[in-house]
């Protein structure tokens, strides 16, 4: 097979595995979920994964950690959230802070 054909095989395989992963979560038997311990863990899992995602998106850079415009932007977002600003204001505010700082040559 040509390299081009192999690339298509890889794309379809990655797609199938991605979908199968997602489907597995939706197919966990009801009986397991009724276990209070599994129920509690499942409730915490989303908070844990999404919080970790925020941390990585704020600090990770090419396999290391770095402090740059993203931290200032996320800090502003946190203040806006604390002040109960609407979602779109929080997101736009963070983008504006990061873009502004970078335009000035910081981070």
């Amino acid at each position: 097979m040509s390299a081009y054909a192999w690339m298509w095989v890889a794309i379809v395989a990655a797609g199938l595995l991605s979908w199968a992963t997602k489907l597995t979560g939706h197919s966990v038997p009801e009986a397991w979920l009724e276990n209070p311990r599994v129920h509690r863990i499942a409730a915490f899992v989303t908070v844990a994964l999404l919080s970790a995602l925020v941390a990585v998106q704020t600090f990770a850079s090419g396999g290391g950690l770095t402090v740059d415009a993203r931290l200032a932007a996320v800090a502003v977002a946190a203040v806006l959230l604390w002040r109960r600003a609407p979602f779109i204001v929080v997101v736009a505010g963070a983008a504006a802070v990061a873009a502004g700082l970078r335009a000035l040559g910081w981070g």
């Binding site: 890889a10 991605s18 939706h26 509690r40 989303t46 908070v47 919080s51 990585v56 959230l81 997101v91």
Partner: protein
């Protein structure tokens, strides 16, 4: 009141869809730069449909890696989507047939986060948040991926527009309402610290996935019912 709340949910779903979709521009451009053609790039967005996995796939190809390595990395980065289906069970079940197949495909960070950002007692709003965000991101991401692939490197860096910081802020905003209780705050803080500690030493994907361990530790004991984020 229900109507007002549903509108806020859909507004949130729409803003998340557009902000995430905008990143499709950079994925499309990167994928073509890595050597894939426009059709292959579009197929990755349609079939894999998970940003982190797709960036990893073309990243491995671009770095000269083989097909097997790109599939393995992409799959590993998508494992967290499997956990989301479990967390979403009270919101989405029962799902069968095509609805389940399609629901699984749009189970990603964004649809999960918007669903769980809605009040726990309002299952309708949570379900609307999941579907509107899932389908909204799917449409925007796929359309804008093609645009990025066609424009290639002529587009600028999304970071110049602060879109990377906007993504982090959006997830913070979505997880925020879940952090009302001490135990949830502790889980969030421990997850952040663990992910950051692992970032310099573990392969991509591991730091976020490892946070599931924090959830297991926190959920193992017997907290009073109000301490569990619904």
């Amino acid at each position: 009141m229900a109507g007002v709340r549903l509108d806020a949910t859909r507004q949130q779903a729409l803003s998340v869809s557009l902000a995430t979709g905008a990143y499709g521009l950079s994925f499309g451009a990167l994928s073509v730069a890595a050597g894939l053609d426009v059709w292959q790039t579009a197929a990755l967005s349609l079939l894999v449909f998970s940003g982190g996995s797709q960036f990893a796939f073309v990243g491995v190809i671009g770095a000269g890696g083989g097909a097997a390595a790109s599939v393995a990395t992409s799959t590993f980065l998508g494992l967290r989507n499997g956990f989301y289906g479990v967390g979403l069970a009270p919101v989405l079940r029962p799902m069968r047939g095509w609805r389940k197949a399609w629901g699984a495909q749009v189970t990603i960070d964004e649809s999960t986060a918007v669903a769980l950002a809605q009040p726990a007692e309002d299952v309708e709003a949570r379900r609307a948040g999941f579907w509107w965000t899932g389908v909204g991101v799917f449409v925007a991401w796929n359309a804008i991926t093609v645009l990025g692939a066609l424009l290639g490197t002529r587009i600028g860096d999304p970071a110049d527009w602060g879109l990377d910081a906007a993504a982090a802020a959006a997830f913070l905003a979505l997880v925020w309402p879940r952090l009302a209780h001490r135990r949830a705050q502790a889980v969030a803080a421990a997850s952040c610290l663990l992910a950051l500690a692992l970032t310099p030493i573990a392969p991509p994907g591991v730091p976020v996935l490892a946070a599931a361990v924090v959830a297991v530790v926190a959920g193992w004991g017997h907290p009073r019912p109000e301490k569990v984020p619904e």
